[in-house]
């Protein structure tokens, strides 16, 4: 065993996979411990992009070191679309008596000045439909708003128990982030619940790995037992078990997965139950391949010799068969863990994943990102890191499997 471990680490593919996997594992174990936030805690606003988050209520308490920037030009520029500028120009030429040559629609300030000087809703505007008149009046109002901004008055209760205006904040006001008492750094932004993505992601990786491991262990254990018995005992037992395996193989396991997940019901589906559901549907291919390996071992002379030495059936299976398939079973387990993680992600995407309010999984994060249309609001940080994590984990596990395969099946090794 020690020898085989040493061999495993001589494969560069295995080492790369192992390192990648270890990084994910360490991140998943330690980041949530050292993170200042709870994975489910709301610390930022919905889909806040990666960076420093400053909450409005904290800002209000900060001192205003008055930035003397007149932002109105920028606001006007933003408020005026090219069509509106064209509309303003048309009006000024038709009803304001302005010379067309004097109007430069690119010069926002000049255009707005001209507009202010000439526009009046009382103008008869002959030839315009009433709806067009109204649209001009609306444009005028939105311009006025863009010039002044929105002001918010803050009232606090004074010592006499009366509400008193304490602060007026315009949406043009600025504070220095350094002056705000509580700022929160969100390296990967916030998700749809305003929780810190990185804390939540690493926590989800941990739970997903646990689900994958449990599912993989269950699938491997069932597959191994059935494969060993079917392959070694042969005859009727083999026929029955192979029939069972075939049934599970021909019915797409994902359909069974969905059916079981559905019938267990929302309330009963904790992460562990989901792992079990995945495990009990994933074993057939392990069973099949273990069976064929065992059949080729069954007639080996060392098994015959063990029988002649008077060893019992369990002894032979455990001592003369199992060690020979062990390396293969380890490789199968690695793949089962990987597909367990993917299966959880798929199930959760369909809304059949773990139902829990206390923990999260990678699949659930993707499901939420999709439900809250993160892709439409451009909140890439809500799903790209999740997808990447799933990909890296499954890639690293597959890499380890390939590395082991090259060691245990040397004919695949190319050098």
């Amino acid at each position: 065993m020690k020898h085989q471990l040493k061999q495993a680490f001589s494969s560069s593919k295995f080492v790369l996979g192992f390192v990648l996997f270890s990084i994910m594992l360490l991140l998943a174990i330690f980041y949530p411990i050292f993170s200042p936030f709870d994975p489910m805690e709301m610390v930022g606003s919905i889909f806040y992009p990666p960076g420093t988050y400053v909450s409005v209520s904290d800002t209000v308490q900060a001192t205003y070191n008055g930035f003397n920037i007149d932002p109105s030009e920028a606001h006007l520029k933003a408020a005026l679309s090219p069509e509106n500028r064209e509309k303003m120009k048309n009006w000024l030429v038709r009803f304001g008596g302005v010379n067309e040559a004097d109007i430069d629609i690119e010069d926002t300030v000049a255009l707005v000045d001209l507009w202010d000087a000439h526009y009046s809703s009382d103008n008869p505007q002959e030839g315009l439909l009433s709806s067009e008149k109204k649209s001009y009046s609306r444009l005028d109002k939105s311009l006025a708003k863009a010039k002044t901004g929105i002001k918010t008055a803050l009232y606090t209760e004074n010592s006499d128990g009366e509400m008193e205006e304490s602060l007026i904040i315009s949406d043009r006001d600025y504070v220095r982030v350094n002056d705000v008492a509580n700022t929160v750094t969100l390296p990967l932004g916030a998700d749809n619940f305003g929780a810190d993505m990185l804390t939540k992601l690493t926590n989800s990786i941990r739970v997903s790995l646990q689900i994958g491991l449990v599912a993989g262990l269950i699938a491997t254990l069932i597959g191994l037992t059935i494969g060993l018995l079917a392959g070694f005992l042969g005859g009727l037992v083999d026929n029955i078990l192979t029939f069972l395996t075939n049934i599970f193989t021909v019915i797409p396991s994902f359909v069974i997965l969905i059916l079981i997940a559905n019938s267990v019901g929302q309330a009963g589906r904790g992460p562990f139950v989901v792992a079990m559901i995945i495990g009990v549907t994933a074993w057939p291919w392990t069973a099949r391949s273990v069976r064929s390996q065992v059949i080729s071992l069954r007639n080996r002379d060392h098994v015959n010799l063990s029988k002649l030495s008077g060893h019992s059936l369990p002894h032979i299976i455990l001592n003369d068969i199992l060690p020979y398939v062990a390396s293969y079973v380890v490789m199968a387990l690695i793949l089962q863990v990987s597909s367990g993680i993917l299966a959880e992600a798929q199930l959760s995407m369909l809304g059949l994943g773990p139902s829990t309010t206390t923990t999260t999984t990678l699949g659930m994060m993707m499901n939420w990102a999709q439900q809250y249309t993160a892709h439409l609001s451009g909140a890439w940080w809500a799903f790209i890191p999740v997808i990447l994590s799933v990909a890296i984990i499954s890639f690293s596990l597959n890499l380890m499997n390939t590395g082991l395969d090259q060691i245990f099946n040397p004919q695949l090794r190319e050098d």
Binding site: D301, H302, L305, K307, L308, S309, G310, H311
Partner: protein
């Protein structure tokens, strides 16, 4: 080599083995009869695929007999449950063709030998006694136990492995030994040593040896009686001298004539 035959230990009557059914049905062994005696060396000679190993496995009780009766010490053999099988295997043992697949590579050599001591009721023996027994068995086959202890089978050569297999038989001291081409995978020098050791063991514990080979010359060299096998049938049998010096069946003649042909190829004048 002719000598008084002991009492019958194994007697087969119309033994048949069929593998598979329908299209894949093969009759590997067809209605064979044989009678093996105490202390006798019997050779079963035949080409590849003639059913030699199949007979051996049936006699060993590793596979079932499709049809026919096998008498062990004059009684129909009964291995219907695990305990009876274990009892039977105290009397009959085997050395297989391929030493490299005869060992469980995950077990140390000591485990293999200890199993034999335990099987023959030596479980309660002291470590010292067990050690002495293993040392004796190894020295019987010219191996040093001290050099083998704590080693794994794959650290030995093919010849050493086969000798260790004989050491195992030495410890078990069965009534019958089936040696299924034990020398086909080792070099000529080891071959002679292994054959000598088997014969020495036969002399020591008056064991019956069933020697399976495709080499009729070898059969003549080691055995008292010979069974010639072709396509699952015994075409000729009898004392080694009779069968090989005065062959009756055409197949036996062909087998014998194949032997000098090998040397004939060097004689250019016959080409």
């Amino acid at each position: 080599m002719a000598k008084e035959l002991g009492k019958s230990v194994l007697k087969g009557e119309n033994i048949t083995k069929v593998f598979g059914y329908g299209k894949t049905r093969t009759e590997a062994v067809k209605q064979v009869n044989f009678d093996f005696h105490e202390g006798e060396v019997i050779s079963i000679v035949g080409e590849s695929g003639s059913g030699k190993t199949t007979i051996a496995r049936m006699i060993l009780g590793l596979i079932g007999i499709t049809e026919g009766t096998l008498l062990f010490n004059g009684q129909p053999r009964d291995i219907s449950n695990g305990r009876k099988k274990k009892e039977y295997w105290k009397n009959i043992q085997a050395v297989f063709q391929d030493p490299f697949s005869s060992f469980n590579i995950f077990n140390k050599i000591d485990d293999l030998l200890l199993d034999c001591i335990n099987m023959t009721g030596g479980k309660h023996k002291s470590d010292k006694e067990k050690f002495d027994m293993m040392t004796e068995a190894c020295s019987f086959v010219n191996l040093k136990y001290a050099e083998l202890t704590n080693k794994y089978p794959f650290e030995l050569s093919g010849g050493q492995m086969q000798r260790l297999m004989i050491a195992r038989v030495f410890l078990l001291k069965p009534k019958i030994l089936i040696a299924d081409e034990p020398t086909s995978m080792v070099d000529a020098c080891s071959r002679a040593t292994i054959l000598d050791m088997l014969l020495k063991l036969r002399d020591e514990i008056n064991m019956t040896i069933i020697f399976i080979t495709h080499d009729i010359g070898l059969a003549y060299y080691v055995s008292d009686s010979v069974y010639i096998m072709e396509h699952g049938k015994f075409v000729e049998s009898g004392p080694a001298e009779d069968v090989i010096i005065h062959p009756q069946a055409a197949y036996t003649k062909r087998l014998i004539s194949d032997v000098p042909k090998i040397y004939g190829e060097w004689d250019l004048s016959t080409v």
